[in-house]
């Protein structure tokens, strides 16, 4: 539907369920994709599956220097960087009263600070070419909160405020910055939940089912497209009606 031929996209967390689906759909729309993540094997498997126009770019997002170097590596590998998808994320859940500084800081560092660093790293090229798409994968819990996820919810809400601020700054240069906020999506992260937890969650979802990674990827492809050039600073909620905001 949307044509991304000739565009180069970097996707973090491409070894995960949602990141992998995003990379596949961007690739299917014609983009060259840079697959980033900490685990090399699944990235290489995905690159092999995609064939041409796929590059493996391993990066540990808790390593500030590696994060700063990633956009340069992506540009070297692909020749340009037009689309950045900050999808990588971790959870370290704990009750707020028991949450350690380390549990707080590591989630903020990986989810929020690395997103900031990558945005900074890609802006120069996007501003020069007067075209760019930054898509940050937030979460429904960034808007609604979730018990046990004070750190994760803060990082995901932080992404939204950061994206809006950046969107203001660079809109006149043809660069859009948006968020996609998934609800409960079938991935390794939600597989950790037991059946009782899943049932309780599904009671809150009007659609009555969990979402598929492909349904998040479709939202990303739209925001990456030329057609979405007038959409910036927004959060696209993809959550089966769980939170109508």
């Amino acid at each position: 539907m949307f044509d991304l031929t000739g565009k180069c996209a970097l996707v973090t967390g491409a070894s995960g369920g949602i990141g992998g689906a995003i990379a596949k759909q961007l690739h299917a729309a014609g983009a060259t994709v840079g697959l980033s993540g900490t685990r090399v094997e699944p990235l290489e498997a995905l690159a092999a599956e995609l064939g041409e126009r796929a590059h493996v770019l391993p990066c540990n997002l808790s390593d500030a220097e590696a994060v700063t170097a990633l956009p340069k590596q992506a540009i070297e590998a692909m020749g340009a960087l037009d689309i950045l998808v900050n999808n990588a994320g971790v959870t370290r859940d704990n009750l707020f009263m028991r949450m350690s500084d380390d549990e707080w800081q590591s989630v903020i560092d990986i989810n929020l600070t690395s997103t900031m660093r990558l945005c900074k790293g890609v802006l120069r090229g996007m501003m020069k070419s007067r075209w760019g798409r930054i898509i940050n994968i937030s979460s429904v819990v960034g808007a609604t909160g979730n018990p046990g996820q004070g750190n994760y919810a803060a990082s995901k809400a932080g992404m939204v405020g950061m994206s809006k601020s950046l969107a203001y700054e660079v809109a006149s240069r043809g660069v859009t910055v948006n968020c996609v906020a998934p609800g409960f999506i079938t991935t390794a992260m939600t597989d950790k939940l037991n059946d009782d937890q899943k049932d309780a969650i599904l009671k809150q979802v009007p659609s009555g089912r969990m979402g598929d990674p492909e349904e998040i990827a479709a939202a990303v492809v739209y925001l990456a497209s030329a057609e979405a050039g007038y959409v910036t600073g927004t959060t696209l909620h993809v959550n089966g009606g769980m939170a109508m905001i």
């Binding site: 501003m127 700054e169 660079v170 006149s172 240069r173």
Partner: protein, 79 residues
């Protein structure tokens, strides 16, 4: 006028879309040439590329006028 000043002037004229005659030594990018804060960041980026130098953020903040830019770049390219 020096070669550096010519090249800087060309970048300023192209980027800000101003008349060449307006780009005098004392001309402030923001107050006289209509740049916004993002324009000044882009000008610094363009200077870095044109002259193959790196302009640190704290130095970039001191570059307010055309003369500031030519002076900084002259010194940076000499060293």
């Amino acid at each position: 006028m020096s070669d550096i000043a010519d090249r800087v002037k060309k970048i300023v004229v192209e980027h800000l879309g101003v008349e060449e005659s307006k780009v005098v030594d004392a001309a402030s990018f923001i107050d006289d040439l209509g740049a916004d804060s993002l324009d000044t960041v882009e000008l610094v980026m363009a200077f870095e590329e044109e002259f193959g130098i790196e302009i640190p953020d704290d130095a970039a903040e001191t570059i307010q006028t055309f003369q500031d830019a030519t002076k900084f770049i002259t010194e940076a390219t000499e060293s």
